[in-house]
Each structure stands twice: as C-alpha cells, then as structure tokens.
Symmetry: C2
DNA sequence: TTATAATACTACTACAAAGTAGATAAATAC
DNA sequence: GTATTTATCTACTTTGTAGTAGTATTATAA
C-alpha cells in the first residue's frame, strides 16, 4: 500500500522546486539536497519536462523550475505524469472494470478510504502543502 | 497506490474459503474458481498455513480451510502474513521514522486518508465482508 | 571563441516480485 | 497394499522497477 519510488521522488522534487522557487535548481543540487540518485533523477526530470510540469534550461545558470503556478499542479497530475495508476483506474483487488453495481467483496469497506484518497489527490496542490522550512522533504 | 498481487490473491482466496466454508478446497479448485496461477498459489498457501491463517490436510478429501473463525481474521493479519508493509511502518513519502512532530510536506494532507485506511484494515474481518453470492471474488 | 556547467540520450546492470516446472511426501479411499 | 489425490519442497525463468555508466548536446559566462 504505497506509491512507487518514482512518485515519491517526484513529489519531493516538485515540493522543493516550489519551496525554493526564487531560482532554478540543477539536477545536481536536487540530488544533493534531497539525497536522491543523480542519474535516476536526470531521467525522471526529463520525463517531467516532457509532461509539461517542469521547465528546463541548459548551460550555465540553467536548471529546473516549475512550469506552472504551484496552485495549478495537483498531486494527481504528478501521479499521472509518472504513470502511477490512480485509484479510479485500478482498484483494490486488482479488478479492471468495477463499479458499485458489480462489486467485489471488499467494495463496501474500501469505498470510503478510496474516495478520501481520490479527493485528497485531486484537491491537493503543491501550493497547499506544508511550506514550513522545517518540514523535511 | 495499491496492494501487492500476492496480497490481492490472499484476500480473494481467504474470502472464498470463508464463503464456501462448509468444506475444504484443494489448491486446484481455488486456481480454477478464482483464475489464479496454480503454482504460485501453492507457494502462497503453504506460507499462509505456516502463518497459521489456514489449515491444510493432504490426501483424498484433503484441501485447505480457514484455521480460525472468520471474525477473528482481520485484513491487517492477512497483510502481515504476506509481508505487505502496513501504513504505520512505511509511510507515504518513503521516510522510515516519521511522526507528527517531524512531518514531511504531505503529512497534513495524508494523515486523514492514512488513518482511515489503517482503521479499515484493523477493523475489517473476513466475516464482515460482503457475502452476497453475487459478489465477485 | 572557448571552457564549462548544465540537460538529454542510449544502453546497460541489479534486484525483487511474479510466475513456472518437476520431483517428493503424506493421507485416504478402495 | 496400492493407486490416487492432495499438499510441500527445491530450483528455475520472467518481468518490471530501480539504479548506473558513458556520451552527446546545448547554452552561457568569461
Ligand atoms: S468493487 Fe469496489 S472496491 Fe472492489 S475493485 Fe471495484 S471499485 Fe474497487
Ligand atoms: S510525516 Fe506524516 S505523511 Fe509524511 S511520512 Fe511521516 S507520517 Fe507519513
């Protein structure tokens, strides 16, 4: 019951880019500040650039920064960019097509948490996260 | 954001054993009825036997059945037997040790769904699942 | 113009989860 | 006793995610 590592990384990186959004940051900085594997990050960030969440500029003084306002980036956008399946797409017992009229045994118990997670993912923006500088990232 | 395949399989199998608990069922029957890979199931069921959730008897008329009353088997027991980490053990952004006094950026948003999932896993027993025979497993 | 700091690309390795195959051991119906 | 039905054991293959390595490309400061 967890996100993929890649999703975790993406959330942490984007949070960092938002928290220190006065300037852009190189992959190397993100790698050092967040303790994430450098080469893996380069791949991931290239992907986030392609998906339009991040802008990149090369050369000296280049680096990465958010491509949109932080209040326009929802958590579900991040999951989608990464390719992490959303709750609505692949549900708890692994059945593909499922709805309340053809429920699995767990449906009644799972529906409330499921709805809560979905709401949280769709309603939460980067801007609405904790931005206390003390918060770990 | 999902359970491991093995956990999904375990929940489905145990639900089946409970629903049709008047007799025991061979791995072969479970394999056919639930459309799960036979060899993989044998391994998994052996594990569930070792963990004390299921009893097995060999030979003709043998098979598998629940080792406890269905109202004594909670979902979290199943996850634990499978080795799936619970919410409390590994949290949303992958930090190991985390508490409200040293939160990650997502903590405030994640806490409610997290609590709801944990409550659901600890409170839900096999007996409390939907047992309408129409429910898919 | 040139050295340098950065992203982007291609290809590989490492590991764990999922799935497969074949042989062995136990219980029981006959 | 024996054949058959069942679980159990050991070992392998496949697949997907995570992580690594080296090179090419781009931009800019000097
Ligand atoms: S029936 Fe409900 S809980 Fe089960 S897989 Fe479908 S939506 Fe999810
Ligand atoms: S701070 Fe809260 S949400 Fe973040 S990892 Fe810890 S318990 Fe989970």
């Amino acid at each position: 019951m967890h996100f993929s590592k890649t999703t975790e990384y993406a959330i942490r990186v984007l949070s960092y880019l938002h928290r220190y959004s006065s300037t852009s940051h190189s992959v190397n900085v993100l790698h050092q500040e967040l303790n994430l594997p450098y080469k893996y990050l380069t791949k991931m960030m290239t992907e986030l650039v392609k998906k339009g969440l991040v802008t990149a500029s090369r050369g000296r003084e280049g680096g990465l920064s958010l491509a949109k306002n932080a209040d326009e980036i929802h958590l579900c956008d991040i999951l989608e960019a990464i390719g992490e399946p959303l709750e609505s797409e692949r549900c708890i017992l692994g059945f593909e097509k499922c709805d309340a009229s053809n429920p699995c045994a767990l449906h009644d118990q799972w529906a409330p948490p499921k709805a809560m997670i979905e709401a949280m993912l769709t309603n939460t923006t980067l801007a609405s996260l904790l931005h206390d500088k003390e918060t770990k990232l």
